[in-house]
Subunit: 431 residues, 2 copies
């Protein structure tokens, strides 16, 4: 008889980042980056680590969601899980009563993400590979079977996906070698949080240039005059050739978003991120039509593949920003990668927070090797926060992510910070 | 010094409805209708009752969400709340850290619904009016101020809404008198749950006809041949003139939904409800274009006004099915009513479950008196379950809802069922 998943632990881990206004933007003025962290244990001594990301209060709800979804994994045979991760992802999300709380969105879906990601971590550890490589070694048929196709076939059928993946198969080895040598391009958001004053913004932009960054993102969406001034400061320092992106974090209605983009366009903007409600596919489409050649970017709050299907079908996004913990884990991220590839839209994952950089590099690297086959106009967000708490943290060379080498999904945290930043009883919160 | 909201109680109330397969459909095979029930207390002895609805497991998450959102109400002056319910609704939903769990969707938004609905119950009790009448007595300007316009102005501006409401003002008194005399039309879902066999379906359809129902809804979406047979049985009994609606509860992809509608169309279908993912605006639009004159209906899982804005803009729905507990309470329901009215799309609220019939009658009656001004092609769902637990239960005359007369939002439950059906320790769950 083979091993089974027999144990489940959850942890409410919160970092008091709001004390420094790191991560402040027009919608999220004072986030405390947090993880609803989960460990699946097997009865033969293995473990899979996963989490979802929140920004503080309410993380206890995400933890409770991860637990209730995670209980659906307990008792399953490890072999069944790791050899049918598509079936596993569908199983944990399929409790009809829990589904009512979403469906496929909000807190319960954050819980699904934590559990599915933990299963991938377990599978990759057992396979002795990092997740990007586990994915990149799967056959096109295996990859197609990861996806829940129920709501996607009007945009892409499994057969079409299969054909697309097969077309990329011959180049996989060459791209993997390139990736291992050169890494994957990134951009930095560390310079441009809204809570920073002009002096700090200018200093951080200069430091970014010195560190070799060629793409920098600024938070906007509070006051337009301030934003015009801040974009000019950034452009002045970045020079004419580096890329500048802006991010309104959902604060604007459609007419204001168009107004903002037109005013800030003078500073040479590559993309305008989260201009309005993350649910507003048609609103993004209207904005995209009005502000070209500035590209509309969204996705960190796009809760499932059905949303990406629509954003892509409506030509509403020019940049597709999947989130490894908002979507229901690796499987739904693969679905989004496939959908984006059919339209030739670059996927530039959302990261930052806590642990998101660690995860999304796997997704983009897999995308490059086996799905889109391209790094052109693709950059993974990078924020220099909290990496030290992870067993397999990001490794950068200049402005590029290097490939993770350790088996797993890089979701595992060191035990000490899990204890120290436990909410509300950890040392960091008692003082 | 005036009164303040000083207390908050929450209750996890679950009815073991799955034991009878009441409420079974293609997605939700065995629901236990549940309420995340909440009471706001004032320091001068008043109380507002509210709840959100779930179907069992996970109701503890909705309760936790109601509590964490409800805590934002504690300490507020009652006068400030009841005289600025728009500001109150925006306030409770505006915690930026909690917002990350949605935003404006899923479990956290269910919690917002419970809290906002409780505030309306309190305000209406203090005003000595049922909520429908409290709304119907508000000036157009007061109604406009209830709505969060941030993401809606590309479809409808506050000024346009004001003008629309002003146009309906002269007819309010006459319509209110008509409503008090004739009630509001309803349809029944009690006959057609998917778990019932053909014999029970036929018997319940016959009983519905005898009871005077002229619109009946059947659950479909499992097996097409079964559905063809069940629709024929229903149509045979209903005769040529009564209305038959079908509901797939999100089980189908877009191509299958079109196939289903074409096959079942032979039985004369008024609307096809939840044909596919509730997030798929463009998918519903594609279905609507293909299956006319059958109307596409959705909304019980449309999580906020931005979704309704899009469904309406894309001509994706011919019937708008708001849910009193999925949207963020009365305020967001008002927004949806206004948006639907601009397009002349009938609002036929989702009900059933526990307590939804009690609430939505208020919304439709207000819609008739002050917003759309019409009952044409409008019916409120009616299911004959669990009304006995409410202090102000629905009152029907034939197939019509009579106006509620008691002050409040009819959300208050009797203390005994709240105790008896408390999960997991109430008597009903211990046996």
């Amino acid at each position: 008889m083979g091993a089974r998943i027999t144990g489940l632990e959850t942890f409410d881990v919160r970092f008091p980042t709001s004390r420094e206004l790191d991560g402040s933007d027009a919608m999220n003025e004072a986030p405390d980056y947090s993880a609803a962290y989960l460990v699946l244990h097997t009865d033969d001594g293995h473990a899979g680590h996963g989490f979802t990301f929140t920004i503080g209060r309410g993380n206890e709800l995400a933890v409770a969601a991860a637990r209730v979804i995670g209980e659906r994994a307990v008792g399953l045979a490890v072999d069944d899980v790791v050899h049918d991760l598509g079936g596993f992802a569908r199983h944990v999300a399929a409790d009809s009563q829990l589904r009512w709380l979403g469906p496929d969105k909000g807190t319960i879906h954050l819980g699904t993400a934590a559990v599915v990601n933990a299963a991938w971590d377990l599978a990759a550890k057992l396979a002795g590979k990092p997740v990007w490589k586990l994915l990149a070694d799967m056959s096109p048929r295996q990859l197609v079977d990861l996806v829940d196709w129920r709501y996607l076939t009007d945009a892409l059928t499994p057969d079409q996906a299969l054909e697309m993946l097969q077309r990329q198969e011959p180049g996989r080895a060459e791209r993997e070698a390139y990736l291992r040598e050169h890494g994957y391009p990134a951009y930095t958001t560390s310079a441009g949080w809204l809570g920073y004053d002009d002096g700090k913004l200018a200093r951080l932009c200069r430091e970014a240039v010195e560190q070799g960054w060629d793409a920098v993102k600024l938070k906007v969406g509070g006051n337009l005059d301030d934003d015009i001034r801040r974009c000019r400061i950034a452009r002045e320092i970045l020079g004419p050739h580096r890329r500048l992106m802006i991010d309104a974090n959902q604060t604007l209605g459609v007419p204001d978003a168009i107004r903002w983009a037109r005013a800030l366009g003078e500073s040479g903007i590559w993309w305008f991120e989260e201009p309005t409600s993350p649910d507003d596919v048609l609103g993004h489409a209207a904005i995209a039509a009005e502000i070209a050649p500035i590209k509309v970017a969204t996705g960190e709050h796009a809760h499932n593949a059905v949303m990406f299907k629509q954003f892509l079908a409506a030509d509403a996004i020019g940049i597709c920003q999947i989130d490894a913990c908002r979507l229901g884990g690796v499987n739904e991220a693969v679905a989004a990668l496939l959908l984006a590839a059919t339209k030739g839209v670059p996927v530039c994952p959302h990261a930052g927070g806590v642990g998101l950089c660690e995860l999304v590099r796997h997704l983009s690297m897999f995308d490059y090797v086996a799905v889109s086959g391209s790094m052109e106009n693709r950059v993974v967000e990078y924020v220099d926060h909290l990496h030290e708490h992870f067993v397999d943290p990001v490794r950068m060379r200049g402005s590029r992510y290097l490939v993770p080498e350790l088996p797993g999904y890089s979701a595992e945290m060191h035990p000490d910070p899990v204890r120290r930043f436990a909410f509300p009883d950890g040392e960091a919160w008692r003082t």
